[in-house]
């Protein structure tokens, strides 16, 4: 993976940001002034952390230039409470922003979230730990044992597997997975989940998430 390019003029904040990202196991390059980024340099950059208020070339100009030549994720650091600036940065192609003041964990979290992208698994074939779900043939295996699932149970499992590691709300499951005419009640959903858990056996990866709904545990918890 390429390095994280940090463009931040404030000495103290820049040093902190670099330190935090390095502690998170990322390699970091730090620029203290705004300037144009060569296309060749961009190939070695995995993500740019960009301050908007910079001496030299302003942050928004750097962003515009980067977007002309590359899709590298850009995370904007902004001290401003100004919505226009943020929306402008997003419209110019920034992927995300962090408003100062921020906690080190927050920044690392946002950088990681960007590096993980794309999160959504659109392919019909999903593998989560020992669980395999194949949307094309509508079959699922757990620890190489094929699961016998009803239509609703399969849809439920597939929906959770597509977003493994993330909670999915009960409302979403009711509206998008269960048949709204026949069985879309909270109780039916709980019944389906409990049956699914039984079929998955002791190593069931389906967790109840307080206040939200359910989550399929993935290997790497996010």
């Amino acid at each position: 993976m390429g390095a994280i390019l940090v463009i931040e003029d404030d000495e103290a904040l820049g040093r902190q940001v670099v330190q935090q990202l390095e502690q998170a196991g990322l390699s970091v390059v730090w620029w203290r002034k705004g300037r144009r980024i060569d296309e060749s340099d961009l190939s070695e950059v995995a993500l740019i952390v960009l301050d908007l208020m910079l001496p030299g070339l302003p942050g928004l100009d750097i962003l515009k230039h980067v977007r002309e030549v590359s899709d590298v994720p850009v995370l904007v650091l902004s001290a401003r409470q100004d919505s226009h600036d943020k929306v402008r940065a997003l419209k110019l192609g920034a992927d995300d922003y962090v408003t100062k003041p921020f906690w080190p964990e927050e920044l690392v979290e946002r950088v990681r979230a960007r590096l993980r992208r794309p999160v959504l698994q659109r392919s019909p074939h999903v593998q989560v730990g020992a669980l395999t779900v194949d949307g094309d043939s509508r079959r699922a295996w757990f620890a190489e044992r094929e699961l016998e699932l009803t239509r609703s149970e399969f849809d439920l499992l597939a929906a959770l597997a597509r977003r493994a590691g993330q909670p999915v709300s009960r409302r979403w499951l009711l509206a998008n997975v269960l048949d709204p005419d026949r069985e879309a009640t909270e109780r039916t959903l709980d019944v389906h989940v409990s049956r699914l858990r039984k079929k998955l056996g002791d190593g069931s990866q389906i967790e109840t998430v307080w206040g939200i709904g359910y989550r399929l545990r993935s290997g790497d918890r996010s």
Partner: protein
């Protein structure tokens, strides 16, 4: 130009043309009277000689009539007489007299049309009048009178007097108005220099009175706003000073001994101050009516806010989870406002909680609306507090948000942001304990298809 001069010039501008119109009308009437008089005298003098003695000697010479000038009036010198030369002409307009002027064709045309007398402009300063005396087969059919057109000079007093009167009236009428306007200006200037000197209200019922009352109302409104702001700043500085003192205490304790608990508390204070700063900026913008309408996706806003609170939640031992729909949730509103509102809800849910407690953020799409719920199983809030939050605008008191019992500024900002963006804020108690705060609003219409398409992907895949 001052008001006084402007009014004076306007008055002169109106009076002068009016005077000229009167003079012109008067002169036209006087001319008409002269003509009628001359025609009558000519007929009286020459009708029977023209009929009975129209021989060469009679019609070859010029006859002179002395006619008194009619009327008086300012434009005619009273009592003056004028000399009118009279010549005789046949039906074709031919005259015998050597010094007779040529009869103008329009005069003859008018007589042939059946008129008894007609007048036209003559040479020099004269008018020519043709008067029918006898039937047309006579060489003395018409008398041609040459009337001297002598006008009296423009009577200066007649013009000057009304102008002077009008100017005087304007000056007298305007003086008190100017005085009142000046007083009002001075009062407003004094108020600008010193906000405590309220401009006095003028009790009169005219427009100036109304203006002075409007100024007074405006000054009262500004004073009220200033008072609110002052109170707000006082409360906020109090609220900022407290955690800052605590933070300083923690830092000096940390300098003496490395205590993780002290460090944890210090970080919480810093987090609280950070949140307060955000609320302050948003409150200032809300007060200024500075909402910016934009379209954005709620999904990343939820992710950002939840990520921001993860560290705090971990430190406090509170589980913080969130769920969003797979596709985008497009809304229109102010991004900063929305993010701050959600920050306040999530901050409250995490901070007003206990170790082992839960906080959850759930974004859903229901029909053509989104619902954004923030739930916790902390102590919750009382109905009285819910009531207070619903009453927006109690800004001063709301700043006291620090104590667990009062989530004042935080929730009142959420309520105001919801109001500005035409969203609904519903607060309810969670059983057995805790709070559910739900924001509900319209999805951005233009993007409904896009959002629906995102769901289709999932339903088929």
């Amino acid at each position: 130009m001052s008001l006084r001069w402007r009014l004076l010039l306007t008055a002169v501008g109106v009076v002068l043309p009016l005077l000229f119109l009167i003079v012109w009308g008067q002169r036209a009437v006087a001319r008409r009277m002269t003509d009628d008089l001359v025609a009558a005298v000519v007929r009286l003098q020459f009708e029977s000689p023209a009929r009975d003695h129209c021989e060469d000697a009679f019609r070859s010479r010029k006859h002179v009539l002395v006619v008194p000038r009619p009327g008086g009036g300012p434009f005619r010198a009273r009592g003056q007489e004028m000399r009118v030369d009279v010549f005789f002409a046949g039906p074709s307009g031919l005259t015998r007299a050597a010094d007779a002027p040529v009869v103008a064709a329009p005069l003859l045309d008018a007589m042939r049309g059946g008129a008894d007398a007609s007048v036209a402009r003559g040479q020099g300063n004269t008018r020519h009048m043709l008067v029918r005396l006898v039937p047309e087969d006579n060489p003395c059919t018409f008398a041609l009178a040459v009337i001297p057109d002598v006008e009296a000079p423009l009577p200066i007093p007649f013009v000057a007097a009304p102008i002077l009167v009008v100017l005087l009236a304007v000056l007298i009428g305007v003086a008190p108005l100017v005085r009142r306007i000046r007083a009002l200006t001075m009062a407003v200037r004094a108020w600008r220099a010193d906000g405590r000197r309220r401009p006095p209200a003028d009790n009169s019922s005219d427009e100036l009175g109304e203006l002075s009352r409007a100024f007074r109302d405006a000054s009262d409104a500004v004073a009220a706003r200033e008072r609110d702001l002052r109170e707000f700043i006082e409360n906020v500085s109090h609220d900022l000073a407290t955690p800052l003192s605590v933070l300083q205490g923690h830092l000096s304790a940390l300098a003496a001994r490395h205590d993780p608990e002290v460090l944890r508390q210090a970080m919480n204070e810093a987090h609280y101050m950070g949140a307060l700063f955000g609320s302050l900026a948003v409150t200032a913008k809300l007060e200024a009516g500075g909402a910016v309408e934009d379209e954005f996706d709620l999904n990343p806003v939820v992710a950002r806010v939840v990520d921001r609170h993860r560290a705090l939640a971990r430190r406090l031992g509170v589980s913080l989870e969130s769920a969003v729909p797979e596709g985008p949730v497009p809304v229109s509103g102010d991004l900063t406002f929305t993010e701050q509102a959600l920050t306040n809800l999530v901050g409250n849910a995490v901070q007003h909680n206990r170790e082992g407690g839960h906080a959850a953020v759930v974004l859903d799409i229901v029909g053509d609306e989104f619902t954004l719920r923030v739930l916790d199983d902390g102590p919750g809030i009382t109905d009285a507090e819910v009531e207070r939050v619903a009453q927006r605008g109690e800004r001063g008191d709301a700043a006291r948000s620090r104590h667990p019992a009062g989530r004042g500024l935080g929730l009142s900002i959420v309520a105001r942001v919801a109001g500005v963006q035409k969203w609904e804020l519903l607060l309810s108690r969670q059983e057995p304990s805790g709070l559910v705060a739900e924001l509900r609003g319209a999805l951005r219409v233009g993007h409904m298809a896009e959002a629906a398409a995102a769901y289709d992907v999932h339903e088929s895949g």
